[in-house]
Symmetry: C2
Subunit: 175 residues, 2 copies
């Protein structure tokens, strides 16, 4: 994740050095990316500074928060869209923090059930409250209407992208 170089000029117009009408798709991508990157950087910093944790750990706890009975590693892996090896290491650290527990499933001894501890749940609630407040602050200058418009348009983008995503792989095959 990298914020390309279109991060500075964001205003109504930006420098296109000679190609005003082309590259619209690329410009949309760079703008989406720069918005997300600048916010995500701030979120990571706040999580470290205010709560001494990281975004991956927060995300994992968020996934567990809605599952009082816990989740197995493979569910976490799929839910967070990261590799299983990744989940292993993040869970390792959450256990060091005392935020989650790891127990072997009774019926299938291959499976590991990860669950939020009482401390983990308490801590997550504290973080989630702040987390939500950050976005209320960041988007505070946008009206509800604007946000809803954007939600819809980005939903359309996501739909369009999901549909086209598989075609990208095929593009390189011939080249």
């Amino acid at each position: 994740m990298d914020a390309q170089n279109e991060t500075q000029p964001v205003g109504p117009q930006e420098k296109h050095d000679g190609a005003p009408h082309s590259k619209l798709s690329l410009r949309l991508w760079l703008r989406m990316l720069s918005c997300v990157m600048v916010i995500e950087k701030q979120v990571r910093r706040q999580l470290i500074d205010q709560f001494g944790t990281t975004l991956p750990r927060f995300d994992l706890m968020a996934a567990l928060e809605r599952r009082p009975d816990g989740m197995v590693m493979s569910e976490l892996s799929k839910s967070l869209m990261v590799s299983s090896g990744n989940v292993t290491s993040v869970v390792d650290r959450l256990i060091e923090d005392g935020h989650v527990s790891r127990t072997t499933a009774a019926n299938d001894r291959r499976s590991i059930i990860v669950k939020l501890t009482a401390k983990g749940r308490r801590e997550f609630n504290r973080m989630a409250e702040a987390h939500e407040a950050w976005f209320d602050k960041l988007f505070g200058d946008l009206s509800d209407y604007e946000i809803e418009r954007l939600l819809i348009r980005l939903g359309d983008v996501r739909t369009a992208v999901d549909k086209r995503l598989p075609e990208i792989d095929a593009m390189g095959d011939s080249a």
Copy 2:
């Protein structure tokens, strides 16, 4: 990263400094994030599969491509918005690839000038062409008008966020 709990019942409207509550902000963030993540994952995969490189290396080459005379490390660091130590390691690998050169500045021996090699420029042009085509494909179902609308709206978001960004840091101090 996904939906949060509801620790904050928060009244319908509690605009303090222009902050509408109700999780709309959070939903916008999660939607922006999911759009960017799914695309970025695909871009990284394509860069590896088709060109044997990574997004950070591509980004660095993209920055150099518009600067025929090269850039010093600190310029790269600022332009890419990453730490200077990070630039060092990515440049190391680009040199192994033969894509960039590293020379000491004549006037200031502390500075290192990084420049695209002929091979690097050739390779970058190949990649940039594919890179642009991926987005034309991904956003192919959106009209130019839709894309332009989105560019404007996201520009507004970026402006709003940039303005509020510094306030986030202060939020934790009192808590």
